[in-house]
Symmetry: C2
Subunit: 301 residues, 2 copies
Amino acid sequence: MPTDLKTYMQQMAALVEEELDRLLPTESEAPGIIHRAMRYSTCGGGKRLRAMLAMEAAGLRGESRLRALPVAASLEMIHAYSLIHDDLPCMDDDDYRRGQPSNHKLFGEGLAVLAGDGLLAEAFVVLSRLPELIGLSPELTVRVIACVAEAASTKGLVGGQVADLQAEGAPVDDHAAETLRFIHERKTGALFKASLLAGAMVGGLDSEDLAAVSRYAMHFGLAFQIMDDLLDVIGDEERLGKAVGSDQRRQKLTYPRLYGVERSKTMALEAVEAAKESVKRFGAAADRLAQLAAFVVEREY
Amino acid sequence: MPTDLKTYMQQMAALVEEELDRLLPTESEAPGIIHRAMRYSTCGGGKRLRAMLAMEAAGLRGESRLRALPVAASLEMIHAYSLIHDDLPCMDDDDYRRGQPSNHKLFGEGLAVLAGDGLLAEAFVVLSRLPELIGLSPELTVRVIACVAEAASTKGLVGGQVADLQAEGAPVDDHAAETLRFIHERKTGALFKASLLAGAMVGGLDSEDLAAVSRYAMHFGLAFQIMDDLLDVIGDEERLGKAVGSDQRRQKLTYPRLYGVERSKTMALEAVEAAKESVKRFGAAADRLAQLAAFVVEREY
């Protein structure tokens, strides 16, 4: 395993890319256009944080990280689906994503909705094949599916996006901190948590280990989200591949808006420390998880 | 069991309604608005054909039909999701569904997209709970999920809708019959087939029985689709709860357009007979499936 984090992340991302290419239907399968639209937003880029978290969690008790590759790929499909739908004109109305035209700008709104739908369904196609793909027991396969489905439901991604849309333009009142937490535990936190837990299940972790991974997930998600909000204030458009300042224009409820930039930075750093602490029990096997937590607050994109 | 088909269908629909009410998140769970939107399009109406097919298939070898209720409900969630997304302005742009405003007319496009997404995810939440809900083995649970996920994927619903959008306004050429078949095997056929097979798996059917059910599904789906196309030409707007003639206005590829009204009627009746023939092996246990096949071509709504 490479010692340098950047090299490691690049190598892992390349493996995830290959797995997505292997698992997603190809353009030669009819109707080709929908598979092109699905691949456009899923392949070829992204940090692959969810995939990496799943793979690292799978390796915490000695299992090969690579065994979690199909799970990692299915999580990236769900992440891509949520970005496609979030970018739609009827939602966040974003024209760019990772420096490229967003899905509906290239394929039109109808196909973009369907590409998202197709990716969500395909993720469950892949997960239901885990017994055949990696020899996972049917019991664990059902648990992995339950965990991922809940993260995609109104208890997760969908609920977070709804609350986010509703909070736009709302005044910062006494409930704002609570609302902000509600949004991010679902909109970003839930899929990070599902990634870590699904990976950990593939890795055969017991319930105490899973509880520790779950705590790590909570702190990791918080650190990530605070930094995401901060980058919209202090980030570099070119490195981010999207416009900054959009949260402010939309009067979104964010950490810097609620707590200010400096306090937000401190909160993010505290969350990183808490995340590292949560996985101490795994010793050196958790080194990458500790590094990834530090990475999310140091990143510039 | 009631002997009259209409009474039977009403009683089964009432059971499905109760099950959906039991399984769907309530409006009291935050964010309440998304659960209201999901329930608006899933509860309170519809023929519940997919649910009934699942339950009847479950009963073919002596298992209680009621055991398939959670599977039946999850299929109705997926059906409702596909209707919400199909009705969007960027797709078929339909303002009415079952005589009521379509989801986006009432909740706005953003929430309608999310209500569909939420229903698709919730269906897999329910399916992953089958071991706990009805004591289904993890092996069969995974098979049921695989079957439903494929039907929702680009091999099913999504692929059918894409092909349908692409065929709008296209000239009727030598490939039209093939294209029409491609669309309907996916857009309507795939979910009927998944309903029947998922139900049959709950009912413990063996592979030869499943093959027979699969043949019934193919013929049933064809009969249903031809009739659906015919009702758009010869149906009554009030009974249908939606405008007729919309296929023609959009120059959709349909059975009456390709084969004429009379030939289409004959094809539908032939498909009903083939459907009945396919499930003869089950004797009296398949009586309702035979009646349901006859119903789809006799219905006026």
